[in-house]
């Protein structure tokens, strides 16, 4: 079966649910990921992202609703689906007993790739993730970033049509993150469909054409990063810092200058279409904040608005 035969929807979920005992981790979500798209699941810890990813990876059976992956049913065609997807788990599952290259070769064999072909592909992939000079090294001697790159390389060994990445860059330094982003961009240009979870908003803005925000097992917003900012936040944000403890009282004095004012322990946030103008009016009222910052609204503002600032765990 070639990519062209696949229906346009690579992933299609309707009312998808996942229960663990009495706990409902995913509470009926509708998702559709189209071919060639980069799709993100955003949400705080415990939002149900990873449970959703495991169902899409055809390893965790859904507790309810409909799910089709590459046009197939994960309940009955698990091996066929998994043959064509690449899964990068949240925690590395590399084999510490094998060297770097053997991790790719042995894993590639599970897909039924002939030995000679898998050997060639292992070398290409090591080059792709810049690990060629470590090919004989033990996995346990690699740094966190190298292990992550090796995991990504392993994810690609079967030339997947659909790539599932569960928090691919968590714990990486900026260099390693940018290298990974660059590699993911290249894959996207080759037509690979990417589904990823992250709680880094810059990562979502960089990588995702479209995303959903999940909270408490439900989808609370959906759209492109820009759409979400337009719908759920203002164009700009003015941040004002006064003395500690003064913010609560001062909020009332600037309330009418913005669409929404948020009081934090260390600053006031004025959500407005024109930050400079709002700031000028703040000064006209005789208020003089110790520090000010006018910036564009980001996905992070949307995220915090939708999922709250309270710690989840």
């Amino acid at each position: 079966m070639t990519l062209q035969d696949t229906p346009a929807a690579m992933v299609r979920a309707r009312g998808l649910r996942k229960l663990y005992g009495d706990f409902e981790a995913v509470r009926g979500i509708d998702v559709e990921v189209n071919r060639g798209e980069s799709f993100g699941f955003l949400g705080p810890n415990g939002a149900g992202k990873s449970s959703t990813m495991r169902m899409i990876a055809a390893v965790s059976p859904p507790s309810g609703g409909e799910l089709s992956i590459l046009g197939m049913d994960p309940q009955t065609q698990g091996p066929e689906i998994r043959s064509r997807i690449g899964v990068c788990p949240q925690e590395d599952t590399l084999d510490n007993e094998l060297n770097v290259r053997d991790n790719l070769v042995v894993y590639g064999r599970y897909f039924g790739i002939p030995r000679r072909e898998v050997a060639e592909r292992a070398d290409e992939l090591l080059d792709f993730v810049q690990l060629t000079d470590r090919s004989r090294a033990k996995v346990e001697d690699l740094s966190g970033g190298m292990k992550r790159r090796l995991t990504i390389a392993r994810t690609l060994v079967n030339k997947p049509d659909l790539l599932l990445l569960d928090e691919p860059t968590t714990g990486l330094d900026p260099q390693a993150r940018h290298l990974l982003w660059d590699r993911l961009f290249r894959l996207k240009h080759q037509g690979v469909t990417i589904v990823l979870t992250t709680h880094y908003m810059d990562e979502a803005e960089q990588l995702c054409d479209r995303l959903v925000v999940m909270d408490g097992g439900r989808i609370v917003a959906e759209g492109s990063p820009l759409d979400l900012i337009r719908t759920h936040s203002t164009r700009e944000v003015a941040e004002l810092r006064f003395g500690v403890g003064e913010h609560e009282a001062l909020a009332a004095k600037v309330e009418d200058l913005a669409e929404r004012v948020e009081v934090l322990p260390d600053r006031l946030l004025l959500y407005t279409s024109d930050g400079e103008e709002a700031l000028a009016k703040v000064h006209e009222r005789g208020l003089s904040p110790a520090a000010v910052l006018v910036r564009r609204s980001t996905l992070e503002d949307v995220f915090l608005r939708l999922t709250g600032r309270t710690l989840v765990d």
Binding site: M72, Q77, P79, E91, F111
Partner: protein
């Protein structure tokens, strides 16, 4: 449309794809396992069979027909070795692949299903039992403890069956177990008591009637008795069939148990 053109992947294919993994694992460990599987039987047979056996002057009527104590104890040692080799391969290693190395989770991200993983690993255990017990039987042959070559070969096949009976059941148990402390209970309450009291070292008729009855229920006794019949060339057809049926049933039910437990454990 598209679905019709997707070829189904067979069980055989999915199991065969794991060959390279197990070959790689074995390449790393074979030296140690070859030495222990040769040296351990040599030490056991020398200490228990030859030296301890030297003090035992009982004849065939007290030793279930064995001419010497060495001939009596040797088949029991082989069968116990099959049990222990199989058990060792599916206790800590299985828990490790779930909890520590998480290798099974890497495997289920590929076309492999949990039952394919169980099947391939049990084939590896079979290979380990077959080679370890094969070496053991060769050591016994050197000591002259066999009545016929045919019996020796059949006894070797029986060791594989004993290994599978224990490996499948303990695989399932390990797949359920949350904490490794459960293994010390298994060894203290199941493996070692069977090793000592299931007729490997003395005829179970020496036990009190209740304990003898209990010993007859243990899988190891069925394995020991069958192995002894074959090595002494004193086969009792109906008893042999009961032993075979017992061990085969245990292996088949155990296979189902292992596959279903690992499936449940990995389907988070």
């Amino acid at each position: 449309m598209s679905q019709a053109t997707t070829t189904r992947i067979t069980r055989f294919d999915l199991v065969a794809r794991q060959l390279d993994y197990w070959v790689t694992v074995y390449k790393r460990t074979w030296r140690g396992s070859v030495i222990t599987s040769f040296v351990m039987p040599l030490l056991y047979v020398t200490a228990m069979g030859v030296l301890l056996g030297g003090f035992i002057e009982q004849g065939p009527e007290a030793l279930e027909g064995a001419p010497t104590y060495l001939a009596f104890v040797a088949p029991g040692l082989v069968a116990a070795h099959a049990m222990q080799t199989a058990t060792g391969e599916v206790t800590w290693p299985v828990m490790g692949m779930i909890k520590w190395s998480r290798t099974y989770f890497a495997m289920t991200a590929t076309p492999l299903r949990p039952s394919d993983i169980v099947a391939a690993q049990l084939l590896f255990v079979t290979f380990r039992v077959a080679s370890a017990c094969g070496v053991f039987l060769l050591v016994l042959a050197i000591f002259g403890v066999f009545a016929s070559v045919g019996g020796l070969l059949l006894a070797w096949l029986v060791q594989i069956l004993i290994g599978l009976a224990f490996a499948t059941v303990f695989f399932g148990f390990s797949a359920m177990l949350k904490h490794e402390s459960g293994f010390s209970i298994v060894y203290r309450l199941i493996v070692i008591p069977q090793f000592l009291f299931s007729g490997a070292f003395f005829p179970i008729s020496n036990l009190s009637p209740t304990l003898e009855w209990l010993a007859r229920l243990t899988p190891l006794w069925h394995g020991v008795d069958l192995t002894r019949m074959l090595l002494l060339d004193r086969v009792d057809g109906s008893a042999a069939l009961v032993h075979l049926a017992y061990l085969t049933t245990m292996a088949v039910l155990g296979w189902w148990f292992a596959a279903s437990r690992l499936t449940k454990r990995l389907a988070l």
